[in-house]
């Protein structure tokens, strides 16, 4: 009956024939992804050349090729060392952290239906920091618990606290964020307490720098560990891509679309907590990447997670590679912790998103 009784909408365009539309979409996605991967590779290559020692992009290729066994090294050991042991792991870890934080932010925003969710805002990063500091400074676990293990336990504790608090407070967007603020304050205080009472001066300096979020002094082991956790998380989340879409209209709507809501939330929130913990134990609590990048990526791909997640990861990787390059060069020879720069960029973006949510509700 309804086909005839509606006045035609002036804005309406004729529906595009579906097969070609799907084809065009696949083509566009392919282009977007290849462009993203190319941009990321180029960014890494160029970012490695920037710094006090003058290095060219061909030098970088040559060093990488020789270490991968694809050619003779033509660089001096010092230059090779600068590229392979200092700048390369740092730049790659920046890419992995950027990708990981952006993916965590995307998943948290969708699952909690909260455009302001991100590992830093929700206090998960602070919890991870506390866990790591307790292991490092107090030696809890006697070496049986690694720094990352401590960070994971801390991350889970603070996540559980935030979810419990926000649930008892009613669960609205603002309540979740306020619970995150409370958790962040609590865990920062705990961290400071542990550092002030138990750490020596040397440890304190190191811990404080790391708490602000810093990629200085990372090595290949950090890169491998974080990459592995990122790969697992990304695959898990992509496997749940459609399920994440189903949360658009809330938990009950997702349940009526056949989603096991509680199981999905536990699996995905634990996975993101694990990734956050891995990233924090290597690079400290780098804030706001997970908040800002998902919104930017959604503008590119729309909200379907199958396409959104890979693009968010790529965007986050490119973003943090450049922000870290900026952080280590802008006050050369002094280094600014990368977390300081991301916060300087992130806070205005946070306000912008907050403003938009206020208007839309």
């Amino acid at each position: 009956m309804t086909r005839t009784d509606h006045t035609p909408d002036v804005r309406a365009e004729p529906p595009p024939p579906a097969p070609t539309a799907a084809g065009a979409r696949i083509l566009r996605d392919g282009l977007l992804w290849s462009a993203g991967v190319a941009l990321l590779l180029l960014s890494v290559a160029v970012a490695v050349t920037i710094g006090p020692a003058r290095i060219s992009v061909p030098d970088v290729w040559s060093a990488v090729a020789s270490h991968l066994g694809l050619g003779e090294g033509r660089l001096t050991p010092i230059r090779d060392g600068i590229i392979w042991n200092l700048r390369m792991p740092r730049t790659l870890l920046a890419a992995v952290c950027g990708a990981g934080l952006a993916v965590c932010g995307t998943v948290m925003q969708s699952l909690l239906r909260n455009p302001l969710a991100d590992p830093f805002v929700l206090g998960v990063s602070s919890g991870a920091s506390t866990g790591a500091v307790v292991v490092v400074v107090l030696g809890v676990g006697g070496g049986a618990v690694s720094i990352s293990g401590g960070a994971f336990i801390g991350a889970l504790c603070s996540f559980a606290l935030v979810l419990l608090l926000s649930h008892t407070l009613g669960g609205s967007t603002d309540r979740v964020v306020l619970s995150g603020v409370a958790a962040m304050q609590l865990f920062s205080a705990l961290t400071s307490f542990v550092v002030m009472t138990a750490a020596d001066a040397e440890q304190t300096r190191g811990v404080l720098f790391w708490l602000l979020g810093s990629l200085s002094g990372v090595g290949w082991s950090d890169v491998w560990m974080c990459s592995a956790v990122l790969a697992v998380t990304l695959l898990t989340c992509l496997g749940h891509a459609r399920t994440l879409d189903a949360f658009a209209f809330g938990r009950d709507a997702a349940a009526s679309l056949g989603v096991h809501v509680a199981r999905t939330r536990i699996v995905l929130l634990c996975t993101t907590a694990l990734l956050t913990a891995a990233l924090v134990s290597s690079a400290g609590a780098i804030g706001f990447v997970g908040l800002v990048l998902p919104h930017a990526a959604r503008a590119l791909t729309g909200s379907g997670h199958r396409r959104l997640l890979p693009v968010t990861a790529l965007a986050g990787a490119v973003f943090l590679v450049w922000v870290d390059t900026l952080a280590r060069t802008v006050l050369d020879p002094q280094e600014v912790p990368v977390g300081v720069v991301t916060s300087l960029i992130g806070v205005p973006a946070f306000v912008l998103v907050l403003h938009r949510t206020r208007r839309s509700t």
């Binding site: 309804t2 749940h240 459609r242 399920t243 209209f249 709507a253 009526s256 989603v259 096991h260 839309s360």
Partner: protein, 281 residues
């Protein structure tokens, strides 16, 4: 895959709730409710606020678990059937769908295909067909690209019904779908629902709308079913006084001689004895 199974299913007695009870916070919300909507009909679920309509619909959809009693789909309980399989049969439309995600009409309708797809599979031609048919049936074919946030309340509900149809359900549960709509859109939406080739259970506040569009009505009060039958059998002055505690004049002046209700001003009706033994189906 379950399309072939549909033909061989045991004689489809559809979705039934049998003596379903549920408590929340020490209060009994549902107290032994049984409903069995005849397949293919539109059943109105009536009753004052807090009578348990919404909870009953959520239990029947499998979103909430029943404390006691069972909900069955063609003779098997919802738990046996499995959540995804239930979602391929039973679709739900809430009174007010809210999202902060920036979705197009097409995105929302595509959500209805989630129970039909495996985790890693791309959308197939049958998904596209179901989505296109759902859009066409709800008169939204030319609005597919429009953003959800630019739609009016009536249009949003129509999109939610399209999403529900994309699930290709045989049972459709609607919880006061007309609550936030103006009169034109209320009539339009219920006419659409009544014309759908599904078993529809619609919770409604407006007795005249229920009389106009429903094949049968079930009336709830304090978590129990107190009456059930055709609108002419059920919607009477006595029942309205009993269940809603207001005076009304009911005349057979609705379309096709269906009851038409006019409420009378004045004090509420007090002190009527309960008529629970009049219980319905």
């Amino acid at each position: 895959m379950n399309r072939e199974k549909r033909g061989t299913d045991a004689p489809g007695d559809g979705l039934r709730a049998t003596r379903v009870s549920r408590e929340a916070g020490g209060r009994i919300i549902l107290d032994g409710v049984s409903v069995a909507p005849p397949p293919g009909t539109t059943v109105g679920l009536l009753g004052p606020n807090g009578s348990g309509k919404t909870t009953l619909l959520r239990v029947m959809a499998g979103v909430l678990a029943a404390g006691a009693g069972v909900v069955t789909l063609d003779g098997r309980t919802l738990a046996e059937t499995g959540r995804r399989a239930v979602a391929r049969r039973v679709a739900v439309v809430d009174q007010h769908a809210v999202t902060q995600v920036d979705l197009s009409v097409l995105d929302v309708v595509r959500l209805g295909r989630i129970p039909h797809r495996r985790a890693w599979s791309a959308s197939g031609p049958e998904d596209e067909d179901a989505v296109r048919e759902a859009l066409a049936r709800t008169g939204l074919a030319d609005r597919a690209a429009q953003s959800w946030h630019t739609l009016s309340g009536g249009e949003r509900q129509r999109v939610q019904i399209a999403r529900a149809l994309a699930q290709q359900p045989r049972e459709l549960l609607l919880d006061e779908p007309t609550n936030h709509l103006d009169i034109q859109h209320q009539l339009e939406l219920l006419a659409l629902v009544a014309a759908l080739p599904v078993t529809a259970v619609v919770a409604l506040h407006d007795l005249n709308l229920a009389a106009m569009f429903c094949d049968r009505v079930t009336v709830m009060k304090d978590g129990r079913v107190v009456a059930g039958g055709t609108p002419s059998e059920v919607i009477t002055e006595e029942l309205i006084a009993d269940v809603y505690r207001v005076r009304a004049v009911v005349t057979p002046e609705g379309p096709d001689g269906r009851p038409s209700v006019r409420f009378l001003p004045g004090e509420a009706v007090h002190g009527r004895p309960e008529h629970d033994e009049r219980a319905g189906p």
